[in-house]
């Protein structure tokens, strides 16, 4: 940990955990969310933890609040894409430099959050993805889902022109220019793979780091193992649709960097995270 801190000191302004926001979208995760919030708070003391309650029917919001997280309580269920986007909007309003997104079901181990953040600060990529398939051990998935994910990885790698091993992973660390893009335009159907493909079209880059996943703490996944292949096919279809869709090129990477530089110059803000090499 101490060895890695020196890498921070070389950046434009040394960051602290306080510049970072951890967002946790939660839908009916009452049994898990408290544990996850406390574990994340332990691993990244000082970082603001935001739980986005996506119109849960149970006491997710109260549990999250009592475990010390900031809660964004959405009045109705808008889907994981909309919930995550609400988290991005909040992070921007708090001038966060780095956002980490983890799931509320406890599959993304909280002790890996600092590793994600460190990877984000040390590398110039805009997005760090925690991939469960780059690590040697840990919980993977059922066979059906594994086949679906493998198929999807291959397709995604072709579309993104960059190797993707875990296209549906939601264990992300996102840096500033990309954060603004996602806050403005974030897909809603299959957010993670679609967002990856869209950001590649806009000239942003990502890097995968190994993360050891754990099985769910409680409750059941939103996708049953049987229709995993069907699910993969649906995602691929929407990726093809995204590929031919008109996109707003004013959100392309060079333009966003230019805009951020201008904003930083005009109001003297320090909260912007421009990679060192750019």
């Amino acid at each position: 940990m101490e060895a890695n801190r020196s890498a921070f000191d070389n950046s434009i302004s040394p960051p602290s955990w306080a510049d970072m926001v951890v967002i946790i979208p939660a839908f009916n995760e009452e049994p898990n969310v408290g544990v996850v919030v406390r574990a994340v708070a332990q691993n990244v003391p000082g970082a603001e933890i935001v739980v986005i309650n996506d119109g849960s029917k149970d006491n997710t919001a109260e549990v999250a609040k009592s475990s010390g997280a900031t809660v964004i309580d959405l009045p109705c269920n808008v889907g994981v894409g909309g919930a995550v986007q609400a988290g991005f909007l909040y992070a921007i309003s708090r001038r966060a430099r780095l956002v980490v997104r983890v799931d509320a079901d406890g599959q993304h181990p909280p002790e890996e959050v600092p590793a994600l953040m460190r990877a984000a600060m040390e590398n110039e990529e805009d997005l760090i993805v925690g991939s469960r398939f780059l690590s040697e051990n840990g919980y993977l998935s059922s066979a059906g889902r594994l086949a679906g994910i493998r198929l999807l990885s291959l397709f995604m790698s072709l579309i993104c022109r960059s190797k993707v091993t875990d296209p549906t992973s939601g264990c992300w660390a996102i840096k500033r220019p990309l954060l603004d893009v996602f806050a403005r335009d974030y897909p809603s159907d299959y957010p993670e793979p679609e967002a990856l493909a869209l950001m590649r079209r806009r000239g942003y880059s990502f890097r995968e780091i190994p993360i050891v996943f754990r099985p769910r703490q409680a409750g059941s996944s939103s996708i049953s193992k049987w229709d995993a292949l069907f699910h993969a096919a649906k995602i691929m279809l929407s990726l093809v649709v995204d590929r031919v869709r008109y996109i707003d090129h004013s959100l392309d990477r060079p333009k966003m960097l230019e805009r951020m530089r201008r904003e930083a110059a005009s109001d003297g803000a320090v909260g912007y995270n421009i990679s060192r090499k750019v």
Partner: protein, 221 residues
């Protein structure tokens, strides 16, 4: 009188009864009243003249279709206008329906005009009318899909905004509470101290000043 006539008479009587009761109690809507009256009349006529169906059979089928089309267009038009009057639908959506009914009416009245299109497209009159209606409904469905997508996206934005604003309000409330608390703690030293200070070091300094002051007060003879 056979059993079919009997059933028809029974139905006619029931609907006449419903109509009468509704009118007496003044709680019958115009549309429902018209529907009741139509059913009662049709059933009554059948009960009275059972060979009405054979008589109808002698009318050319085109005329009957035109009559039906006219009736449908009238119903669509009437329901649309009533819905607008009762603020059930907005005018811009109603316009499509009014157009539908007018189109249907035109199809029923000007058969000769449609003949041109029928020959052009190689269709029979009825097929052509059905095609027109089908196309129109398809467009309407597409219109609704587009509207629906827009509404869903708007709903997401609204939900996000509400959630963010609520979180902000809660944060501000908490901040205000701390300020109020500190203000009461610093009461009595309001003259030169800043009661709105939120910075911990400033507050500590102020508390020190108060402490030394009370010490001075205590040591005074």
């Amino acid at each position: 009188m056979n059993w079919a006539q009997g059933i028809a008479l029974f139905i006619a009587l029931i609907f006449v009864g419903l109509l009468g009761r509704g009118i007496r109690r003044r709680q019958l809507s115009l549309i429902r009243g018209l529907v009741f009256a139509t059913i009662a009349t049709a059933a009554g006529i059948y009960a009275w003249v059972p060979h009405i169906l054979e008589l109808l059979d002698r009318i050319p089928y085109l005329t009957r279709i035109r009559l039906l089309m006219g009736l449908i267009s009238f119903v669509v038009f009437f329901v649309t206008i009533e819905s607008i009057r009762r603020n059930l639908i907005e005018e811009r959506y109603a316009l499509l329906w009014v157009l539908t009914s007018i189109l249907l009416l035109l199809c029923a009245i000007f058969v000769r005009v449609l003949d041109f299109f029928c020959h052009l497209l190689g269709m029979q009159y009825v097929t052509f009318v059905v095609t027109v209606i089908f196309t129109f409904l398809l467009l309407l469905c597409f219109h609704f899909s587009a509207e629906f997508s827009r509404l869903v996206s708007d709903r997401t934005k609204l939900a996000q905004r509400i959630g963010l604003l609520q979180a902000r309000v809660e944060q501000l409330e908490r901040k205000l509470e701390t300020i109020e608390l500190k203000r009461t703690q610093l009461k009595g030293a309001a003259g030169e101290l800043d009661p709105l200070a939120t910075d911990n070091t400033v507050i500590r300094k102020q508390q020190d000043i108060m402490a030394t002051r009370s010490e001075k007060l205590d040591s005074m003879p």
